[in-house]
Amino acid sequence: MTVSAMLTLLVQGFGKSLEIFTLTLLGSLPLGLLVMFGRRSRVAPLRWLVKLFISVMRGTPLMLQLMVVYYGPFLLFDFTPPGNWRFGAVIVGFVINYAAYFAEIYRAGYESIPVGQFEAAQVLGYTGAQSFGRILLPQMIRRVLPPVTNEVITLVKDTSLASVIGTVEMFTRAKQIVASPNTPGMLALAAAGLFYYVFNYIVAFAMERAERSLAYYQ
């Protein structure tokens, strides 16, 4: 296999990794907010349930969760989810796992906002939704940006776990290339490593810019 053929295959694999990355963030960032609300709910059973959910999501390997999501419907209910479930399961598994982590990060950020901010909004007559959207959420976002950056970078690397249920993303692709006849040694893995690094560098750079753009107040 030529180097250019190898790079073409890797770029395809990277496209799949990028797809997992993007869809996971689009799903888990908002879902994390809902999970946080559940975690802070005044309804005790809901709170316990969400707490258990978070605990399971954080306490078991993502790899296992992906397998449960993928095989579960077949093995438990003899049910075949429609469409490309091999990929669908990857997205569902990643989204709920990351939502659990984001929920806890959000919660830490939310609870670190001084109580005076809540009271000021309340006395000024803001509704719950108004005070959340206008007063609390912006301050929360600023507080959670650094830990969220951490998770996002971890996600870039975690995309390789999708291979466990047979979704061929960049890392699996690199391993396949290495295994195929007449390939230049471990080059594909080294190239994949570089891809991951460069992409994470860009992510970190973008998040740093975002942090700086919110640094106008203390």
């Binding site: 296999m1 053929a5 309804v43 349930l49 449960v68 579960g72 077949f74 466990v164 396949q176």
Partner: protein, 277 residues
């Protein structure tokens, strides 16, 4: 809204908990009611699960397509029967789950029959392979007995591991058996000396030696002899019978041999094709 969310969360949660429990007993589902494989008005489809890191039986080609002796055979078989063909690269460890879930309906990828006779519904064996030991040419190891106190690598959950485990005296003489996900990693380890030998299928071993000429040798004495066949979900005799009949025809009329010759360069051993003989 909140109630809906809590309901959804509860569902996901209970599903994962139940499934965690269900995964403990690793037996594939038995019984004939398998999804996808029953012949209906729809066109029959053969979904072949394979390991894309297992040349010459399955690997990725330069154009990104999946290639290999077994896949070429499967594709030819499907076109002869007028079936749809799909090759699904799977994680080898998950092959039973994939089969049980119906996401594949056969495993056709240098799949060892020996020792798994009762776990699947099998085609006739078409390759007679052996598990052999590969060592560095300059290691001074020339027989299985020389491996006492040495580290041996084998692919995790592969028949090479089973072969070592079955050979008590060999196993107890070894320092350790290192189980890695694929053989390329294994040969890297062999090269740098972190393992002393690699237990592998003959075809895999020949392929690795061919691409690293003179560096490695295969010990004359095999660990075990074994046969490859096509594995189907246990009880799925209907699909097995159809595939097997056509497989025998392909062996008979020379198709198998002519396909096999294309993969000799990748390490396929023509002599091992027992249906052709």
């Amino acid at each position: 809204m909140k109630k809906l969310i809590s309901l959804a969360l509860a569902l996901v949660l209970s599903l994962s908990l139940i499934a965690c429990g269900a995964k403990q007993d690793d037996t594939p589902q038995t019984g004939a009611d398998t999804p996808d494989t029953t012949q209906t008005a729809e066109k029959q489809k053969l979904i072949v699960g394979f390991d894309a890191e297992f040349p010459p039986f399955g690997f990725i080609a330069a154009d990104g397509s999946y290639d290999g002796f077994d896949l070429a055979m499967a594709e030819e078989l499907c076109s002869r029967l007028g079936w749809d063909f799909e090759a699904v690269p799977i994680v080898w460890d998950s092959k039973d789950a994939e089969l049980a879930a119906g996401t594949i309906n056969c495993i056709w990828n240098g799949f060892t029959y020996t020792g798994r006779e009762n776990d699947y519904t099998w085609s006739d064996p078409y390759v007679d392979n052996s598990i052999v030991m590969v060592v560095k040419a300059d290691s001074g190891i020339s027989a299985l007995a020389d491996l006492a106190g040495k580290s041996v690598m084998a692919q995790a959950a592969s028949s090479a591991v089973d072969a070592i485990n079955a050979n008590e005296s060999l196993k107890s003489s070894l320092k350790e058996v290192v189980e890695l996900a694929d053989y390329n990693t294994g040969f890297m380890e062999l090269k740098q000396g972190s393992v002393d030998a690699i237990a592998a299928d003959l075809g895999v071993a020949k392929f690795q030696i061919a691409s690293n000429e003179g560096d490695y040798v295969i010990l004359d004495e095999p660990i075990s002899t074994e046969q490859y066949a096509i594995g189907f979900l246990k009880g799925n005799t209907e699909l097995r019978d159809a595939v097997n009949a056509e497989l025998l025809k392909m062996a008979e009329d020379g198709t198998m041999l002519s396909i096999a010759e294309k993969y000799v360069d990748q390490g396929l051993v023509i002599d091992s094709l027992c249906l052709v003989k």
